[in-house]
Amino acid sequence: MSAQQIRELIAQHARLSVNANELGEDADLYSAGLTSLTTVNLMLALEDHFNVEFTDKMLGRKTFGSIRLLSEAIQELVAA
């Protein structure tokens, strides 16, 4: 999935302490200020935008840790 689209949704919904537009694809989103609670906002925005549904197991660092991980996970969900 488009990293740029994900980056824009992060900018709008993740309440990070840094400018999301400057985040590299492998930058650690949790170091940038993402928490388990703000993950929920971001998840809802991503689900709405890409018309997917994350599973409970995906709501952690393994999926939300970076833009690249998110992009791969969404790709998988879309394909499923």
């Binding site: 940038a32 200020g33 609670l37």
Partner: protein, 397 residues
Amino acid sequence: MPKPLRIAEISPMLDFLALTDRVHAIGREIIAQYADEVDRNARFPSESLEALKAEKLLTAYVPIELGGMGLDISQLSKICEILGQYCASTAMIFAMHQIQVGCIVHHALGADFFANYARDMVKHQYLLASATTELGIGGDVRSSICAVKIDGELFTLDKQAPVISYGAMADAILVTCRQSEAAAKSDQVQVLVRRDDLTLTQLAGWDTLGFRGTCSCGFSLVSKGRVEQILPGPYAAIHSKTMHPFAHIVWGSLWLGIASDALGRARIAVRAEARKNPGVVPISGTRLAEADIVLFTMRSGLQSVLADYHRLLDANNQDAFSSFGFAIRVNNLKISSSNLVIDIVSRAMLICGIAGYKNDSKLSLGRHLRDAFGASLMVNNDRILGQNATMQIGQRD
């Protein structure tokens, strides 16, 4: 035929019963004797703490290999409950100290500094305090403004802390902060600072309704130390595995102690009433039976989260600790126990009547009631409910 248990398997259990008897004895003979005076003068319960230290109870959760008692969380919970029956301030100090010990035991013993520190804690019975709340942040434990500043092997750390229970009496304070000045506010670490390396300037006093003996004054904290005093790993992991569940379990346990002592006093009142007219069960007896069901509910909530926590600790799966399902259940325990303790003490008040309302009677419930109201404020229930609402939306299991 089942294999007979070895002595080593039985004895910790037997010893634990002996230990709880001992804690009750200390409670009756020392802690209860000072409880009213501690409350009246809002002073630190030093006699009680000395008695607990003499039994090495401050290191009850430190593993046996390091000299501690090696108790588990259920056993610790039981001790908090017993202490809560005699003096809620003493119990709260004990409980908050154990939360800090839990963080070290679960997350830091792999590091030489902390393994040695644990041995020193056993030897000297150090008392550990906590500074999570921060001016400008409030009770949001997962955010910090202050940051640890590292220079080679050394650090400095300053925090404006509106509430540090027994801060002035503690041998060390565990402080949450950002891991560097560049870090996001949620990118935290937890740092142990020792009394000799810190200066506390009092910002606010502690003349409160309840938990008066915790001496939870506000301080401007200025400290320094060596980088080895930073607990390994991000605070996020310490929080979800230990700080969060541990805190709500030990707090819920001592609130249960407050509630059960209130009902104990109510039972005395009912018995006195019943003696006046043998054969007729007084209405207060029915009220007591009802109140005991509420106590049963409160205890069941605690038992359920304890069972959950034991299961996760045994499996030691970090993902499970950070799951929304577990965090919600821990928060449910906090919200429900802190409400039920007020409910139960109020019911006891109705049963005891004027004797409960008086400050100078044997059945007085004033201290219980004032202490009970603190429970919903230490990490405000509305804040916790707000987090649960968010997690309900995110939860998928």
